[in-house]
Symmetry: C2
């Protein structure tokens, strides 16, 4: 049975996306602090950097990181996450993930502009562009996933759209033990997931609190 899954980073003060980007520092400082424990895991080193030397942390953070990559049959992401807002006029833009993106599945990119032709990439990733309602894109992704899960990869506004629409079965939060004081708040105007989902909490060696909501 396909489940719809989201993983998000959150600070102790509830910010899930950072806003301190600048031309000199396109990612900003806050994003690095928010994602530090995840980026340190062995799974991240292996899956995102292709580093199979065994470098990186093991333990609780790594087990959640590994679970993040397991059992995904299709992915959905917003236009901004793919880079359509950054490169709106470049029909050859293929996303930020290089020649062999780490998804290895069909990836549905949500867009409000005229959809581009699909882009097959080495390694099993194919980017599809859809301008229909999120429910319709999700139905297609579920069909494509063939019994595996569908991951809503981000960005935050896309994740919040799916959460607000009640479409998410599994939400996994990585709560970093830091305060950002600025950014996009995760929880504003979301439904009370704790009433429809089971909540678990677990602290990793890094001090990150992993919170899961499971329907």
């Amino acid at each position: 049975m396909t489940r719809v899954r989201i993983d998000l980073f959150v600070s102790l003060d509830g910010y899930t996306s950072t806003t301190d980007h600048s031309p000199e520092n396109p990612m900003g400082q806050d994003w690095g602090r928010l994602t530090e424990a995840y980026a340190a895991t062995r799974t991240f080193h292996e899956r995102v950097f292709g580093d199979t030397s065994g470098a990186g942390t093991e333990g609780i953070d790594d087990s959640y990181a590994a679970a993040h990559f397991e059992g995904i049959g299709a992915e959905i992401m917003g236009a901004a996450m793919f880079g359509l807002h950054t490169y709106p006029d470049n029909p050859d833009w293929k996303g930020w993930w290089g020649d062999e993106p780490p998804f290895g599945t069909p990836v549905y990119v949500l867009t409000h502009t005229a959809p581009r032709p699909s882009i097959p990439m080495p390694g099993g990733t194919t980017f599809h562009f859809r301008s229909t309602a999120i429910e319709d894109v999700l139905a297609e992704a579920v069909e494509t996933a063939g019994g595996l899960d569908v991951r809503v990869g981000g960005g935050v506004s896309t994740a919040r759209d799916f959460l607000r629409a009640g479409l998410v079965d599994d939400l996994h939060l990585m709560v970093a033990p830091i305060l950002l004081g600025r950014g996009t708040r995760l929880w504003d105007d979301l439904p009370a997931l704790d009433l429809t989902h089971k909540v678990t909490t677990e602290v990793a060696e890094s001090g990150t609190t992993h919170v899961t909501f499971t329907r």
Copy 2:
């Protein structure tokens, strides 16, 4: 060396005080949900209800609850927590805590109105009323504590005043695994405590995450 300590309840979505009070339900439903794990502890049963039967939970929540009561030499609270706003015209009002309040120390009540005479109570609690700056009240409380700690008991706006002024050495948060969607947000406009304090996180059997900031 006297330390200034605060314990607060927070929901996963960052609300530390609830706003769903009504004449029919003066505490509101949310407050009960937010404080459920703490109120279930053996320490709470013993210290607040005077129930020495051993009823209540043990474990991690209880060890934090017990620590809350240890080593306090003086307490500071806001006027609302004492009830001065609720009973402004009753000079005989002695707070919500009955004939023998659970503090057992001098308690400094902050007020903007003309201070009342001090009220000595059985069990070692004496309520003093002060209309001076929080720094001055704190200095007096530290002096009175005689090397023990000073607890800022609340309410939330008083706690936030002390946090904003950088006066707090130890902040302990009990993060309940619930979403409230309404209330007073803890973190708005507070300084980045994680840069000045060491942060720890620990999950209790109840699912409550205990977060401490220690200077």
